[in-house]
Amino acid sequence: MEMFGRNAGSIAILAGLLLGFFILMSYQVNRTETVSAVEGTVHTLTSPAHRAVSAVWLTLTGTWQRYMGLVGASSQSSRMRERNAVLERENSALQEAARENARLRQLLGLRERIASPSLAGEVIGREISHGYQGLTVNRGSWDGAQRDSAVVAPNGALVGRVVQVTATSALVQTLTDPESAVGAKVVRSDARGVVHGVGGAILELAYVNSLEDVENGDLVVTSGDDGLYPAGIPIGRVNRVAPGAPVPDSPPVPLARGEGALFLEISLNPLVEVRQVDYVLLLRPLTNGE
């Protein structure tokens, strides 16, 4: 009782509030309006904050969803990039396999065309220095490779000659080696000479008489005169013909072609780029009488 006595004012407030609520509720029971004045006031007071919070919330959730979408897209993009890299590698491997297949078919066709026995091999090493240009082939004496065998590319063009044979490999001196020399002839005119390297990618056909008929584009093949290479293996095409150095005591200029010079200066483009050869055929070396 003492407590109630001390808080008579508070009790009065409580009673007033409860009575007010009771009247308010009773007032609403039989009314049809769905929105009362109190509801309206509360909504009016809270709606700006409601809208603000809602906007913030929607912004946050929207940002979050976009962020998650970006994360998902990034992850998917990463997976796609990885997949793409794998596919590119596979594609590259397939293309390489197709190229290798084509080269091997070409080699097989060439082997069938060539009458003499031959041995197919793969280039496993390349050595191109100032003084020497050579290839290493994965065929050695155990496989039947022999020294002085002519080496041809899958397209049938001459690559060089085997100069050294080990048990499991053979060293090939290429046509472009300055020390290399091959008896050759121009197919069209049968002009004969010697093809040798000059240190670069081109060849030189030397010792062709200046009276011979040689023109740009003429095909040059092995003549077989050297006893090393079988005749008829394509070597290259003439890309430049010039009169050679004049012979001492010859008539003064102007000189007609063939006048005053013993040999022509002839450059050849080889039919095969020896640095890019992957597979070769090793032909059986010529013996006396062949």
Partner: protein, 162 residues
């Protein structure tokens, strides 16, 4: 200033009550306004508690589509009951206050249902939802007071070092 602070707090809690369920549906069971009412009833004066209960209840009525005055009546009554007991029974700490808030939630639901029955209105609340609401509110109270206590102690430790 104190009234303004409490009014803003109630407004924030009312908004919190309507939004938390969007984030995680079980949070919709928590009666944040009741937590504030119980807090004030346990610590403030009887008059303050009753007025705060009335305002909080009215706000809840305004935000819900129920009869206006229903939660006002219930929360005012609860504030009065707890404030009366708090004069001779001191309740402090997350767990006791959580129990009191849970009981207050059960009492509020009982009062609301009783009024709805008396007014001839239908209601769609089950014992499970009432219990769930009481437990969720109690747990939220324990969590809020635990965090508040931790923050208070941290601040105290920092001020001691200064």
């Amino acid at each position: 200033m104190r009234t303004l602070r409490w009014s803003l707090l109630l407004l924030a809690l009312g908004l919190l009550q309507t939004f938390t369920s969007v984030i995680w549906s079980p949070l919709g069971y928590v009666d944040w306004l009741l937590i504030a009412v119980v807090y004030m009833a346990l610590r403030g004066s009887f008059r303050e508690a009753v007025i705060l209960g009335a305002i909080a209840g009215l706000m809840q009525d305004g935000l819900s589509q129920e009869i206006v005055g229903l939660h006002g009546f219930a929360k005012t009554s609860i504030a009065a009951v707890i404030a009366s007991f708090s004069s001779f029974l001191v309740v402090r700490g997350p767990l006791p206050e959580a129990v009191v808030t849970g009981l207050a939630s059960l009492l509020e639901s009982s009062i609301v249902i009783a009024w709805l029955v008396l007014l001839g209105r239908s209601y769609q609340v089950t014992g499970l939802s009432i219990t769930g609401r009481a437990i969720a509110t109690a747990l939220a109270t324990a969590a809020v007071w635990s965090v508040a206590r931790w923050l208070h102690q941290r601040r105290k430790r920092r001020s001691r070092f200064k």
